[in-house]
Amino acid sequence: MSVIQLTPHPKETLVTLRTIAESNPASIETYIKLGGYAQLKRLVTEKVKATDVISQVKVSGLRGRGGAGFPTGLKWSFMPRYYDGTKYLVCNTDEGEPGTFKDRDIIRYNPHQLIEGMAIAAYTLGARVGYNYIHGEIWQDYEIFEAALDEARKAGYLGENLFGTDFSFDLFAVHGYGAYICGEETALIESIEGKKGQPRFKPPFPASYGVFGKPTNVNNTESYASIPWILQHGGQAFQDLGVPNSGGPKIFSVSGHVEKPGNYEVRMGLPFSELLDMAGGVWKGRQLKAVIPGGPSTAVMPAAAIMAANMDYDSLSKAGSSLGAGSMIVMDETTCMVKALKRLSYFFFEESCGQCTPCREGTGWLYRVVKRIVEGQGKMEDLALLTDVSSNISGRTICALGDAAATPVLSFIKHFRPEFEYYIQHGKSMVDGK
């Protein structure tokens, strides 16, 4: 299986994608050559204490890379230390938030770093079995990961009594098959169990009731893949690659209207303007209009606001949005925000799992109202109606999909209200005249 050879940008700080410049990036030989699996071996054979590993992860400032930004070390400390039965480890590679495609590059270019990260987590948390749940649409990349698992088993990094000790860990690849909601950790767990991906009530959290009702730790792909580097160089070194409250580098997925869409792994705190330059700037020499910084469940930011912001949790939150999964969707001056919102609203309507009434009914309502505006049938009261429906979804559902559906509606209208008013008054777009 071959993948396109990537050339890293000179300003990248490669941690989770550190094999990409190599000629055979996904192979176990390449990973071992770069120091791979040495940390797993050291921890297991020297019987390093779990509390020491967790304290390094806490010092690193690593925060969950799937979008929520919850401190990874703290999450690990929620797993029960003594439990009479099987504990599970789950990796969330179910990327379906539009604009997010970073974990795909980890599993196809650097799968062994993820495997080592998960094995280290399993050792630390006492998990016997792990699952990596991969987005069903990226089938070829799923196969690359399956092949990497085989390599790791044959080389003795997965399986029973690793390095001749009593530590055993089995890791398996499993897949989704077209459901955005399975990126939500409890829906993902339901899906692993062979059910519809409908989120569970929390509490109980997965740390006490997860896969098959057993204690389960769920992290994002990029989070696990950061772990071997943190243990090799120390938590403080990772923290120092970022800024306070946002440790380490992070992969930013840049898509939309830029010259060079792709993944860029850079230090946290980098000004957005520099990241935009790395991606070749706005395409076709056009002006920047807006950016969705962390996937559509984060608020859209007008050009001036994003150009003044840095790529870290605090800076983006101060600017009225959030870092999310680092999925930067760039829109140029020719983008009609009303039509863009229509597509996003359709997405949330299509992907609502149907479990909670406010989300199931509300997402359909939002979509139909935006659609009628785009079809020239909008009324001025529709803007208030959209705000009202959004506010009545937010905070009234089991999982965050309801809030995610409301966010683009509220933020698009807030920042680009004249475009919506023009569309309603004239029955056509202010931007493209159609």
């Binding site: 539009p98 098959y177 077209g178 996003l344």
Partner: protein, 157 residues
């Protein structure tokens, strides 16, 4: 109802789970069944359910919840185009129009010769390669242009 090869693949998936958790393999078992049959009839779903020892309704719930399972017959080649925001910004509508013209069908339609079905997909997590589509749930084609689409269609027999 399923070939020995498909059953062997399902058995391999079952080894990933505790022996008393056969339902967990339903996602992959349905995928494997669909790859063999082209789509999932009620009979195929019931067969998979029986093989795993779970109620037929449990398998049907899964087959109808996840959108890459097909509950109606599709063409030999199912082309699923992403039209979500990142693809839309990179002119996925041009790709859709081109496919409509070349194949003479719209979304959720199949050509008269049963060769192609066109579907609209949600985000596939490959937005850096937009615009894009995948064929038969397995092969991703990225950085599409109308010319590239022509070349891909020509390759498909």
């Amino acid at each position: 109802m399923l070939s020995q090869e498909s059953l062997a693949q399902i058995e391999r998936e079952l080894t990933k789970y505790p022996t008393d958790k056969r339902q967990a393999a339903v996602m992959s078992a349905l995928r494997i069944a669909q790859a063999e049959k082209g789509w999932l009839s009620k009979e195929t779903i019931a067969y998979v359910a029986e093989y795993l020892g779970i109620p037929a309704i449990a398998a049907l719930e899964v087959a109808s919840f996840y959108n890459m399972y097909e509950l109606e017959p599709v063409g030999k080649y199912k082309i699923t185009v992403c039209t979500n925001i990142s693809c839309m910004l990179r002119d996925s509508d041009v790709i859709v129009d081109h496919l409509n013209k070349c194949l003479g069908i719209g979304f959720n339609e199949t050509t008269a010769d049963g060769k192609f079905t066109l579907k609209e997909g949600e985000c596939m997590g490959c937005c850096g390669g937009a615009p894009l589509f995948h064929i038969n749930n397995t092969k991703m084609h990225e950085y599409l242009t109308p010319e590239k689409v022509d070349a891909i269609l020509k390759e498909l027999e």
